[in-house]
């Protein structure tokens, strides 16, 4: 079962690569995405019957959680892609579709990996696949963004490898063999030498933190998200960063079991608040609405690690926020992609009155904005409130106060840009007037928003069970 989740997308990638015509490829991507979603959902329905024996690939609650989130987001994006690639029919999509499915296969591998080295290889492969996605537009600006992403990402991934090696060295010293299997490391973590565990965590935090886009390692993000097609932005902000966060959580669990949890949590709180503060600083007065979303992603990565850093109830809150953030980012980036296409610009100077020209997309964009900034009744409101509660419960009042202040600043900063986009009167002479909001470009977004809304009002039992199981794995409640 585990293997199919990786193999199906990779075989699909091969198929779209070999297919000679551009027109059918997006349909195959969507079909593979549907199969993948079905498989992911069935792993949750059939939990408990995983074939034991494979020590390298296995399901656990945390992996299942990430799998279902990424799979859902990918399915939505694949549907959207059908409309998007039809719009961009002049551009060959062979590489793009192949890279999309490779991305899906590799993110599944990240979710399933039970071995730090496999995890690392999968993250590396995700980096390469997304580099190809980023370069879809083949122009100067996308080239610059891809170059920055590759250089910064490669350094991050190299440091993550070194951190992994440090952990293996610690295992060699403490356990007598350089094992890198999670369950093995967690079970015998108490015997790992503390200096190596700490050094390894710092390197892994910096490495995978770069992939997540935590400040100050976020510098690739605004460029990459700004230049990438909206659908790639959605996959990066909701999929790849989620996978990088999962990698960090795997490492955190080992470090925590080795008795260095306090050290790790302090670092996570620091990076969390720093990311939120950096995002706030750049979001106020931001004139480019796609870069705005990039900084919003920096902010929410900050909230995720902050939740883990607070510990206790914060872990459940962070995991719930992982779902909310991924889905809401999907809504925002896809809606922003439509607006970008219709106005042929993403700067506030050219984009006003989106509500008049694109009532559906602009409405979804606005709703997405309210959701991501934590307004009720959407999902992120619940998870952001839970993070706050956890901080208060852990008597970390200064952290809670800073968190609230930063959320408020971000709400105002983001709001002024978003409102400038949707309100007003659209410019007369815009070449993108021919853009039509077809079903494929709006219904997937609306469906995702409905999920975000649902998570704010009612969390289904199976989701809550999954979240509690995953939180327990990480020592939360």
């Amino acid at each position: 079962m585990a293997l199919y989740l990786v193999l199906v997308p990779l075989l699909g990638a091969l198929a779209v690569f070999l297919l000679p015509t551009d027109r059918r490829r997006p349909w195959i991507v969507a079909a593979v995405a549907a199969v993948h979603l079905t498989l992911s959902a069935s792993t949750i329905a059939l939990r408990g019957i995983d074939a034991p024996g494979s020590t390298w690939l296995q399901f656990d609650a945390l992996g299942r959680l990430v799998l279902i989130v990424v799979s859902t987001l990918f399915f939505v994006c694949a549907l959207y892609c059908i409309g998007y690639l039809r719009l961009r029919a002049g551009r060959p999509n062979r590489v793009f579709c192949t890279a999309l499915l490779c991305f899906l296969g590799m993110t599944s591998l990240v979710a399933l990996a039970r071995h730090l080295m496999i995890l690392w290889v999968a993250m590396e492969a995700t980096t390469l696949a997304t580099a190809l996605l980023l370069y879809f537009n083949h122009n100067r600006r996308s080239l610059e963004a891809t170059w920055k992403y590759l250089i910064i990402g490669s350094v991050g991934i190299a440091l993550a490898l070194l951190g992994t090696l440090f952990l293996a060295y610690g295992a060699r010293l403490g356990l007598g063999e350089p094992t890198l299997e999670f369950s093995d490391l967690v079970a015998r973590a108490a015997r790992l030498p503390a200096p190596w565990v700490r050094t390894a965590f710092v390197f892994l935090l910096v490495g995978y933190g770069t992939k997540m886009g935590l400040a100050p390692l976020h510098t690739w993000k605004p460029d990459a998200y700004g230049e990438a097609p909206g659908v790639v932005g959605a996959l990066l902000a909701g999929g790849m960063t989620t996978c990088a966060f999962l990698a960090l959580l795997r490492v955190y669990r080992i470090v925590d079991a080795a008795g260095q949890g306090q050290f790790a949590r302090e670092l996570l709180v620091f990076f969390g608040l720093l990311s939120m503060a950096t995002a706030a600083a750049f979001m106020v007065g931001q004139r480019d609405f796609k870069r705005l979303l990039a900084y919003s992603s920096v902010e929410h990565m900050g909230i995720l690690v902050l939740g883990i850093g607070i510990g206790g109830a914060g872990i459940f809150a962070a995991l719930l926020h992982l779902i909310n953030n991924a889905l809401t980012k999907g809504v925002l980036f896809l809606a922003a992609g439509n607006i970008h296409r219709a106005f042929k610009s993403k700067r506030l100077e050219d984009v006003t009155g989106a509500m008049r020209r694109l009532p559906v997309s602009a409405g979804l964009f606005t709703a997405g904005f309210f959701a991501i900034t934590g307004s009720p009744p959407f999902g992120p409101f619940v998870s952001e409130l839970l993070v706050l509660n956890a901080a208060m419960g852990a008597r970390r009042y200064a952290v809670a106060a800073l968190y609230l202040i930063l959320l408020a600043v971000i709400f105002i900063g983001m709001g002024s840009t978003v409102l400038a986009v949707v309100q007003g009167i659209p410019p007369e002479d815009s070449e993108g007037r021919s853009f039509r909001e077809s079903a494929f470009k709006t219904i997937p977004i609306a469906g995702t928003l409905a999920l975000v809304l649902m998570l704010g009002l009612w969390i289904p039992d199976w989701v809550s069970t999954l979240l509690h199981d995953a939180a327990r794995l990480l020592g939360g409640s």
């Binding site: 590396e124 590759l150 490898l161 060295y169 010293l173 063999e177």
Partner: protein
């Protein structure tokens, strides 16, 4: 650890200085090539049995790090007719000075880490950390895309040296195969495009996207 391994590691450290100190891009790439060849000999000192794996590793490392990648870089340099000056943001003297400090810190830091008795005697850990630092320095203080790539290669070489300490765990291969081959290959393609689009390999010109 036989003393000859330490001599090779010291030679590795010297190439770090050479790569950071030279003003000529071609010479820097040659430095990286020498470093690759030196790395190719290192597995011989961590494993005494002439297994197939050892032979493959030695040959592959020397070929990839010592010949293929430097060759690709030199070819790129020839094909795009760029000037051979390195053009650093940070002066050569300052780079060398920082590299020396980094090397000293690496020695101190490695001394504080708990090491297996066999590794304590050798220079593997400090050489790895110092090379890593030198690579990072090269990556961040050079202007041209191609010299950033050489910096990244040096950084990876540092990781490779550390990976050799975990020879039994088969982690060295992961670093060499995946990261180097694919990563640099794709970077090469990107450089190629940069050249085509910008008619220069200067990353300074990649500065349209900023706040």
């Amino acid at each position: 650890m036989p003393p000859i391994a330490d001599s090779i590691l010291i030679a590795l450290l010297l190439t770090n200085f050479f790569i950071l100190g030279t003003a000529n891009l071609r010479a820097a790439i040659r430095g990286v090539a020498i470093q690759g060849l030196l790395l190719g000999t290192l597995p011989l000192f961590v494993e005494s049995q002439p297994t197939l794996r050892l032979v493959t590793l030695v040959v592959a490392t020397a070929a990839i790090k010592g010949v293929v990648i430097p060759g690709l870089l030199l070819k790129a340099l020839r094909d795009v007719h760029i000037r051979h000056e390195v053009e650093p943001y940070l002066g050569f003297v300052a780079s060398l000075f920082l590299c020396a400090i980094g090397t000293a810190l690496a020695l101190l830091f490695a001394d504080h880490l708990p090491l297996a008795a066999t590794d304590r005697a050798g220079l593997f850990v400090p050489a790895s950390l110092a090379t890593l630092f030198a690579g990072f320095l090269g990556l961040t203080t050079r202007r041209k895309a191609i010299s950033q790539v050489t910096g990244y290669l040096v950084l990876e070489n540092g990781i490779y040296v550390f990976g050799l300490l975990l020879y039994q765990a088969m982690v060295v291969e992961v670093g060499v195969l995946l990261d180097l081959l694919v990563g640099i290959f794709i970077m090469g393609i990107v450089i190629n495009h940069i050249q085509r689009e910008f008619s220069s390999l200067d990353t300074e010109r990649l500065s349209r996207l900023r706040e």
